[in-house]
Symmetry: D2
Subunit: 304 residues, 4 copies
């Protein structure tokens, strides 16, 4: 594969990651890379590398290396996917569903990646936009936003359950009474959707899963639809509330939230650009599942 010359570094704003960030920058420069570091306070003490904004970084680099947990990776992924910049994750402490390197592997494995010994994988992402009831589509939140894992519709006040409709293209799916609905990508199928009873989806699949959260109807089960389809969730009215009250919330990757009122809809489609992940040679998706989900002979929990 093509070696990387210009590399961006994105880091979580937390103490324990600083030594990793420092050694990462050093290792990259030792490989002859030009290093751009996202310009935020936490990295002030990190060794040189040009400081740039997230936007400039996305425009300029051939590879973005992200130091942190899944949360940091999701945040970086939402910026890098539209820019077409591939991502490599370095996690403190343990491997994640998306982080491929431990800090102690920077010296060896990273050098190999920079030289071009890597595998590349495309992950479809989601695009979500809000369609306000009675709006003309020109409001700020009508702009589509990228989600790596999932777009979630939830009841706002935890006391009330939510009533909402689901649609696939022009087809009405169902009226749901539930705590909410998770719409996830294959990447997100190992995250919140799994807690809600959704299936695992292989990352090569172009598909979305609709996973109802605590549905009142026991037959309201997860549905997998094609990636080319358009899913719409519409918040229904609660007759006991004033029509303008904010009843629901949309969240993106569990990190960005937006309030919704009766009649508002969330539209979810496949994002225009995929997220490119860079893996060291020998990457195996199922090996990660086996490790994270503790599958296999030694991990059996039941005996008869």
């Amino acid at each position: 594969m093509k070696p990387f010359r210009t590399v961006g570094v994105i880091g979580k704003r937390r103490e324990p990651h600083l030594p990793t960030l420092a050694s990462l920058c050093l290792a990259l420069r030792a490989q002859g890379c030009e290093v751009l570091v996202e310009d935020n306070a936490a990295l002030a003490e990190a060794p040189a590398g040009r400081r740039v904004s997230r936007q400039e970084l996305a425009r300029s680099v051939e590879l973005a290396i992200v130091v942190g947990g899944d949360g940091t990776l999701l945040d970086a992924g939402r910026s890098m996917a539209p820019a077409g910049v591939p991502l490599l994750g370095v996690n403190q402490g343990r491997l994640g569903f998306m982080a491929d390197l431990l800090p102690e592997q920077i010296a060896d494995s990273l050098a190999a990646v920079i030289r071009g010994e890597y595998e590349t994988e495309e992950r479809m992402v989601l695009s979500a936009r809000i369609i306000r009831a009675g709006g003309d589509g020109s409001s700020a939140d009508a702009m589509p936003r990228i989600a790596i894992n999932d777009v979630v519709l939830r009841n706002q006040a935890s006391i009330r359950m939510l009533e909402f409709e689901s649609w696939m293209d022009e087809d009405f799916i169902s009226l749901h009474r539930a705590d909410g609905m998770i719409v996830c990508s294959p990447t997100g199928s190992t995250a919140y959707a799994l807690s809600g009873g959704g299936p695992l989806m292989h990352p090569s699949l172009q598909a979305m899963a609709l996973v109802p959260i605590c549905p009142h109807t026991l037959s309201d089960r997860p549905i997998v639809v094609g990636g080319e389809q358009r899913v719409r969730l519409v918040v229904c009215g609660d007759e006991t509330l004033p029509p303008t009250s904010l009843q629901a919330m949309m969240t993106i990757d569990g990190q960005i939230g937006e309030s919704l009122a009766t009649g508002d809809a969330v539209e979810i489609t496949r994002g225009a650009a995929a997220l490119r992940l860079i893996h060291p040679a020998g990457y195996s998706y199922f090996a990660i599942l086996r490790n994270k989900l503790r599958w296999g002979r030694g991990q059996t929990v039941l005996e008869r």
Copy 2:
């Protein structure tokens, strides 16, 4: 759409279907169709129509109408899919996931279909073959067989759980300890796999779901993989049994069974030809789900 001229009729060998079969043949001839009737005992009393074998029927007709429940439809589907003959289901008593007409709709709706007022839908099917341990691939059961709903690997004696490996192409997925594994098509996602905790899959999706049956490891969850992938399930040895003993069983659509021994494998891929279903105009997949699974406002079972 193109009108149908030569129509085959396939019927379940049970008493209550005979009047339906009779009125169906009459209605078809009234429409000017040439009618071929599958030649089996139960239809001996049915009104004329040329008697032919299932094979000849598959070679000769433009449309096969199947009278009976889901079981009869599955059986007919396995014959018609490879021959490229589309299927229309007529069910006694109630609509099924695949049967679109009630007997009382034969007069009106059937006429419209024959005239060309219909919708056509392609459903991917599965192809399963057994690879015997130590065999040369030339045994009879190495021939691929079509499954409309699912291919199931099960423990043979209900007393013992089964140990088996799952593979996707060349990638090892996991070692399972469970009662078995269901591999289903989108069509089969509303059948046995749903009972086992699998997701619904929209019929337009090209995908298979692997649904473990009562797995010992609680994180051994359903996985959806792409239709272009090759799934393999390999029966592992039980050290307390002689290696030649038959420990497992493969079933096709819950209708055809085959015993398996240690080391035997079942390989499942997408079938070469899809099953074509004919629906009266206005067909809606989700309307069927809403009806069969009792979704929606009036069917909510819980109140808070």
Copy 3:
């Protein structure tokens, strides 16, 4: 059984129930009962009957008849259980898990009940109190409150999952990362807990179920413990939040909410007094389940 002489009437404050309330009061007086009506605005137009507060009603009547849905019944049950007043539910439209009479059955079935032809059933209730971190136990919310269905610990902002410990008496059960936890009575096992994957529990059982909501660990499964046990849920800190921020919420029967901060605990025990339900003769718990959950031959949704 003993006939009822003094009967209280509790009604939901909604239009559609007014005619039912009126005919109920008339029917009771025709039976020679003294009728006490809960004194609230909605019943201003209802036919006579002495107007009293909920408290006075609880002190004075031998039977409370509740007109409304499950919500109204839960609310009334929390008042009547401690007072030892038995409850009979009349629901508009359809029978509920706790409502035994339809409005059209008032004339016949109610008369029989008043005459003493009824069955009585005791349902254990829950008692919940909040133990504030660093508090001396004297705050207002340290007073135990009755729950008929369930006590729920939930994340407050829907964006964040919650971390909390569970304890049974002096035994640590586990540390959970989840959206929350439902602790339900047998009566509540057909409500929210069922949506969350909890088991049904027969009402004669003296037990509570702990049902985690969307737990991160897939083996974090519902646990049933004895009614004589004391369950405690303790909110753990989130290092990214100030320690005083309100992270969680406790809700009683989905109707009463209270905010919780890091270190706060909710303690749940069996309530001192059971809720007594009055059923017309011939009551069957399983018949209600079969009806509400659509069990049985005709309602099977899958075919193989």
Copy 4:
């Protein structure tokens, strides 16, 4: 607690357990115990100790120590519970849900137990008997049999689903279409029933769970009933089979099987005598769950 003087040793008939059995017998004699060893071939080489039958052992000892996995413990438990002999499990390799000692703990922990430093726990067991259709109750299988974990009704040929009724005392619960039904004790709630979606039940609870296996009706959910109740499962006819054909199977703890025909019933009640388990001081049920089910902070598998 009372020290133990006469101790029985029961061992699995497998090679790897022999050294453990040997060191166990030596340790017991060093403590001054009289040792009785179950008289079977595998122990022929084990160091002395009087050889006795299982029956004589049950009659003569104050404590039975079982070396082996959960299967061996279940088998021994079914013999010891009716005789009132308490059980202590020693497992090769790893602790089980019921095995409290590892072989390397024999030297220290076992000595303490023999001296009287132990905790005792009572576990309710199940009693199952078959009621043959048209029989007079005098057949051999009408004799009740003990089950430690569960009594399972299963379809015999894996191709067909089973239709059966469930009853609690004189109350009809439901008609089920499923692969079968698991009726488990609290002890069995961590075994097969957990795989089937049943809840955990604390061992102090006097209760049984009815857990349907792959039910066709999605609302056919696990039910917990009181230990004092009588559960009956009745095999329904399959009109396509001759009435005498054996359609179903009852298994006890997954180890003993019995065929059932149409109309046959299995009756399950609480066993007359509980199983007494001996634990080293400091035993914690939840600590075992946390370990076996990998609960808690370090074992979280998902990140958002």
